[in-house]
């Protein structure tokens, strides 16, 4: 048996008026950072909730850490940071964390030790002020995010699931989150996060799965995905505005299928039958003032756009940054 942290097989989830997830299969190898990418409404959160046994799939099977997802024992080995975050507002921070730790099968004593460690590490407990004794609603938003984050990792879970972890984070907390994800991976933990921010995914993930409209579009290791889509992407920089003949060349669809103006350079995608040499010849002939002409690997962002289709993405990408 292959040992996946998560093994999702042919899962379907229907709601009254639409199908949220259609025949989705994916495997997350242990000890990797896995990105679940897709526009808003693609079915990421539904998939995550099914993995966590919060909702049940209508069809298909899900195994988590080697056990069926509805096995209650698995939940103690999972840490979960939901997209919509919240804590009991009137409770003291330490009491909230103790409670959530207990729900993950910790004893209060064990939880207390971890709470001390994390409060200290995220500077919520300093010689001047112990925020652990404050009520949650006395904390700033950034601090509440930290507390939420601690609650996810308190029980040192083998599998950490983060749903849109970067949305709404201030830069300091975002950095702390990235550092922690890297650290978790070094310690052999499995991290899954969903996002529609390709930059983050590209930097952090070993493997990704792109889904749209509840269906898997592609998945695999990031390097494999990139090389599968590589060899056709060219970074082109010009010393002055593209005009006249150059524009004509770039809009020739037998040569270039897609132009993405990145301001500093254009990211071009060659047509299937065209070669870089042909393009370079045509550009030189048109008198283009070339300062850079380079075969590049496509960014996940480009792959995402091409595979999901721009019309699917526009709405979902509004939060890009």
């Amino acid at each position: 048996m292959t040992d996946f942290a998560i093994d999702v097989q042919h899962v379907v989830k229907r709601y009254a008026d639409h199908v949220a997830v259609k025949d989705l299969s994916l495997q997350v190898p242990r000890g990797t950072v896995y990105g679940l990418l897709g526009p808003n409404g693609a079915g990421k959160t539904t998939t995550i909730r099914m993995i966590l046994n919060i909702i049940a799939p209508d069809e298909g099977t899900i195994r988590v850490l080697g056990a069926p997802s509805n096995d209650a024992r698995a939940s103690d080995r999972i840490g979960y940071l939901p997209e919509e975050r919240g804590l009991y507002k009137k409770m003291k921070v330490r009491a909230v964390l103790q409670f959530l730790g207990e729900l993950r099968g910790m004893t209060r004593q064990a939880a207390d030790l971890q709470i001390d460690y994390w409060l200290d590490r995220l500077s919520l407990k300093t010689p001047e002020k112990d925020w652990g004794q404050s009520k949650v609603d006395e904390l700033s938003r950034g601090m509440q995010q930290k507390v939420q984050f601690i609650s996810t990792l308190l029980h040192d879970p083998e599998l950490v699931i983060l749903d849109e972890p970067f949305s709404g984070l201030d830069p300091i907390n975002a950095q702390a989150l990235k550092d922690t994800v890297v650290e978790l991976r070094k310690r052999g933990r499995t991290v899954i996060f969903s996002t529609h921010l390709m930059d983050n995914a590209e930097r952090l993930c070993d493997s990704v799965c792109i889904i749209a409209r509840g269906e898997k579009v592609l998945d695999g290791a990031v390097s494999a995905v990139k090389s599968a889509h590589g060899g056709k992407h060219i970074a082109l920089a010009l010393s002055s505005e593209a005009r006249g003949g150059v524009t004509t060349v770039l809009s020739d669809t037998t040569l270039v299928t897609h132009v993405d103006d990145q301001n500093q350079f254009f990211e071009l995608e060659l047509a299937r039958d065209a070669t870089p040499q042909q393009l370079l010849e045509r550009l030189v002939a048109a008198g283009a003032p070339i300062t850079r002409f380079e075969l590049v690997q496509p960014s996940l962002h480009q792959i995402f756009l091409r595979t999901v289709g721009a019309e699917n993405v526009e709405e979902g990408m509004s939060g890009q940054g």
């Binding site: 009254a16 909702i55 939940s75 999972i78 979960y80 009991y88 507002k89 959530l100 207990e102 729900l103």
Partner: protein, 443 residues
């Protein structure tokens, strides 16, 4: 392991509520309120029953000396340390109006409490008229009425040529009705039956209040978890059923704690109110008119057995379970307090209907209405303990009531758990009844 998590949920629900300022305030105000509800009506009733020394004008237009007889009759019932002031004014029938206006002035200037008019119809044993300040004082009026009947009767007997001395000794009857409560369980005094009425009312009131208050507390707890989105983290660790059970049990434990404090504090306070009531009782008109009658009414301890208390506790637990599960289900379908108030309407209808049965069931605990209400699962938790405190309940009725409640509880829990499971993570538009029905079928 599930049990450890259930404990964690119960513990949180309990501690977070018990530690609030509102819980403390509730514990202080509750007993004062209950004492007030029990003490004030009893005090008012007793004050009404007490007859003060008569201070009135008798306008005697009978021409047969009935006024003086009335005075003699009233005086014979008066105690020596509180003598009557009865001013008999004999007038011809034509002078009644003038005498009344004079008497009215005396009432207005507070020289006397009132006046009574005796005329030919009084002689015939038909009627007399009273006007004055004491018209609503039950004790005073009852004493006056008794004296008038006795006077008119002896006057008429004498008129029929009976020996006045004989008439006097025959009509001076001092009959006392001693009543005793007789039930399947044996004898209990009438006083204890009457003592049970405030007790029954207090029990019904307490049960009703607690079910509403703690049901609302459960609803707010569910709503808080939903609106702060903490629910999602929690249900990724424990099943919604465990969370629901923990919440209901935790809040229920808070309720029991509060009630124990309330009952204990009310009993403590009654050690102060009881002597006040007791002091009022011996001087009542009823007491002076019927010497030797039990004067301890309302003050004897209700004859409540430990078995009845356990039954009341059982009804509270079952009733609370039914209503709090319903409240929790409603809490899971709404997004805000305002929405909750609308969605609660059907449940409030059920619970308020049980409050509406309290009065009729108390007045006539063996009526068909009271019996049906005490066996209908949604009003049983309030009405059965009420009836039980007043009259003996046939075992089969008790069995039907408890069994019905248990079945209703199981059904409601299953229903609520399903609605709760789906609703907890649903945001946005409030679901229609049709959608809720689908949740129940799907989950």
């Amino acid at each position: 392991m599930v049990r450890a998590k259930l404990w964690a949920v119960i513990r949180r629900e309990y501690l977070e509520r018990v530690q609030t300022r509102w819980f403390l305030i509730g514990c202080l105000i509750g007993p004062l309120l209950i004492t007030g509800v029990l003490f004030v009506p009893a005090w008012l009733t007793l004050r009404n029953l007490r007859a003060d020394p008569a201070n009135l004008i008798v306008i005697d237009a009978t021409g047969a000396g009935l006024g003086n007889r009335l005075r003699a009759s009233l005086d014979s019932a008066a105690t020596p340390n509180a003598p009557n002031k009865v001013d008999v004014r004999v007038t011809p029938p034509a002078g009644i109006a003038a005498a009344e206006s004079l008497a009215t002035r005396a009432v207005v200037t507070k020289e006397v409490d009132g006046y009574v008019v005796l005329d030919a119809s009084t002689l015939r044993g038909e009627r007399a008229r009273y006007a004055g300040r004491k018209a609503t004082a039950v004790g005073d009026m009852r004493r006056l009425e008794t004296a008038l009947r006795q006077t008119s009767l002896s006057q008429r007997l004498e008129h029929a040529n009976l020996n006045p001395a004989l008439v006097d000794s025959l009509t001076r009857s001092r009959l006392v009705l001693e009543s005793e409560r007789l039930t399947e369980q044996g004898r209990g005094s009438d006083a204890s039956r009457r003592a049970n009425t405030p007790f029954a009312m207090a029990v019904a009131f307490l049960l009703y209040t607690c079910m509403v208050l703690y049901g609302q507390a459960v609803l707010r707890g569910v709503l808080e978890e939903k609106s702060t989105r903490v629910a999602e983290v929690v249900v990724s660790s424990v099943s919604p059923e465990t969370l629901l059970a923990g919440k209901v049990l935790g809040v229920g434990a808070v309720g029991l704690t509060q009630q124990i404090i309330w009952v204990a504090a009310t009993l403590y306070l009654s050690s102060f109110t009881a002597p006040v009531i007791a002091r009022m009782v011996p001087s009542t008109g009823a007491g002076s008119m019927t010497p030797g009658a039990p004067t301890t009414m309302a003050m004897s301890m209700p004859d409540v057995h430990i078995g009845s208390l356990l039954l009341i506790l059982l009804f509270f637990i079952l009733g609370y379970g039914v209503y709090s599960s319903l409240y929790a289900a409603v809490g899971a379908t709404v997004n805000s307090e305002q929405e909750a108030q609308q969605a609660l309407a059907p449940i409030l209808l059920l619970i308020v209907s049980s409050a509406l049965f309290i009065q009729p069931a108390m007045l006539n605990p063996t009526s068909t209405l009271a019996r049906v209400a005490s066996m209908f699962p949604f009003s049983a938790p309030v009405i059965m303990p009420l009836r039980m405190s007043l009259v003996p309940i046939p075992p089969w009725e008790m069995a039907v009531s408890i069994l019905g409640l248990v079945i209703a509880l199981i059904a409601v829990i299953l229903l609520a758990a399903r609605i709760y499971r789906v609703g907890l993570l649903m945001y946005g538009k409030r679901p229609t009844l049709g959608e809720i029905a689908r949740w129940v079928r799907q989950a």
